[in-house]
Symmetry: C2
Amino acid sequence: MTRSRHASPLGFRDIDDIAAALRLRGERFSTPRRLVVEALFDADGAVSAEHIANGSDGRCPRLDLTSVYRTLDRLEELGVVTHMHVGHGPGLYALTRRDAPEYVVCERCERVTTIEPAQLEPVRAFIGEHFGYEVSFGHFPLVGICRACADADDGGVV
Amino acid sequence: MTRSRHASPLGFRDIDDIAAALRLRGERFSTPRRLVVEALFDADGAVSAEHIANGSDGRCPRLDLTSVYRTLDRLEELGVVTHMHVGHGPGLYALTRRDAPEYVVCERCERVTTIEPAQLEPVRAFIGEHFGYEVSFGHFPLVGICRACADADDGGVV
DNA sequence: TTTTTTGCAAAACCTTTGCAGTTGG
DNA sequence: CCAACTGCAAAGGTTTTGCAAAAAA
């Protein structure tokens, strides 16, 4: 099993890895920055800046929202963080994954499903061929109705 | 050619049609509302509330932004208007088309391409089958890079 | 005349900017 | 010590809400 040290789903293995990347660029790894990164490691999926600023729902000390946004911006420039836009809500941030996932979001319940880019290759090819666009669903996810919500409709409306 | 009176691409044929629909619901067809509707008829594609409020680039009198938003909301409830979200910008409004078009937007130049829903049926089927979502691209359009911008990249970056 | 609609002001929401003080290295 | 970072305050862009004045029917 001589696998790469980067076999994990994350581009950066741990907090120290990210701290090192920051220091390498002359940036500092302050307490607020550490808290933001920890919040992202702890998070179950993508979270809003406010979620992080509020202490990940009480799991860590509160931070200033501005600092969180600034930290997330820096981390995104570094490639450590990626954000996406779900519906009308705030931007959602997550640690960058090496395989750059794409998403489908339910516009009813906001459920987010992660998809491996390779699985969407047929869609990308079709749209490229027929309409001349190179589409991607990492920043602005696909939007639709998930099966559960569709089934709920059947029960309620029909 | 005994086609339906509704053969036009619009669900409502003209301004009087919309005025009638409003009055039918006990609503009034005021001057501001008429101006909003005229702006939509005049518009080349979907436009922002601000574009309408500012008089569609001088082609009609200025209106209060709030009233424009309220009018657009009412018209949307009536089914006369539909809005969509393009990138990070403001919502864009257009008269509802009977064939409910879908869109692809270039995230670089904001070019919006209209697509007949039938043409995207293969995409819808694929995503429904593989991921269990009924997707649509009328409210949150597909996002990608158009050919022109992709070609520009080739020139500049390579 | 009566009910709806308007316009203005203010606020809500998400995000960015400016700046003085704090902190990491 | 000094550059980088933080927190606060304020503002920017989009949209919503409250309310008194105006207008439609």
